[in-house]
Symmetry: C2
Subunit: 118 residues, 2 copies
Amino acid sequence: MLPDVAVEDLRFDVRGLLPAVVQQHDTGEVLMVAWMDAESLQRTRELGETVFYSRSRDELWHKGATSGNTQRVVDLRVDCDADTVLVLVDQGGDGVACHTGERSCFHRRLPLRRSAPS
Amino acid sequence: MLPDVAVEDLRFDVRGLLPAVVQQHDTGEVLMVAWMDAESLQRTRELGETVFYSRSRDELWHKGATSGNTQRVVDLRVDCDADTVLVLVDQGGDGVACHTGERSCFHRRLPLRRSAPS
């Protein structure tokens, strides 16, 4: 049984935002990372679906409202610093989280680079 | 086979940082979220262990250098916007990522709140 955190204890950044990591609850896939302000977090909790804050459009964004790829919220976790949330979801619609049509936004690799032998 | 991203294509924020989500590669546990600048990312890739940028101390931070709880990097993923990295690791040491002694920094819950019936 995990201890609860109150929303008042969350530490939003200077812009009033915190990063939200979205993870498929049963497979563990990290689907995307987006941002939430206090209002989008409140709407996420009330609606039971993810609502984010779009930094580029400066507005709330109900994920999947147009595409149908909504994310049903199964659980919300808060980290030790209370400045990041982990949103456990069931990815709905076509099962696609990324606007590119990929399951996860993290569908590209950055190669590891080893130091050249001296 | 995932396509590669070049480090030059990453989009660091105005502070020169990007969020790094750290996930245990085999179990899918999200262990923590920290920040990387270009130098900590380069050191992470070369060392094969996570190196972060500490915003509070304004310095690089080799995770586990003092505690022994280093994180061996298995893979690095980049999201569609190229402004967030997902670091797949094998959590070493005592298997503990959080400074509180918990396995994951996300060990607390934020309860969902349903609207009161009207």
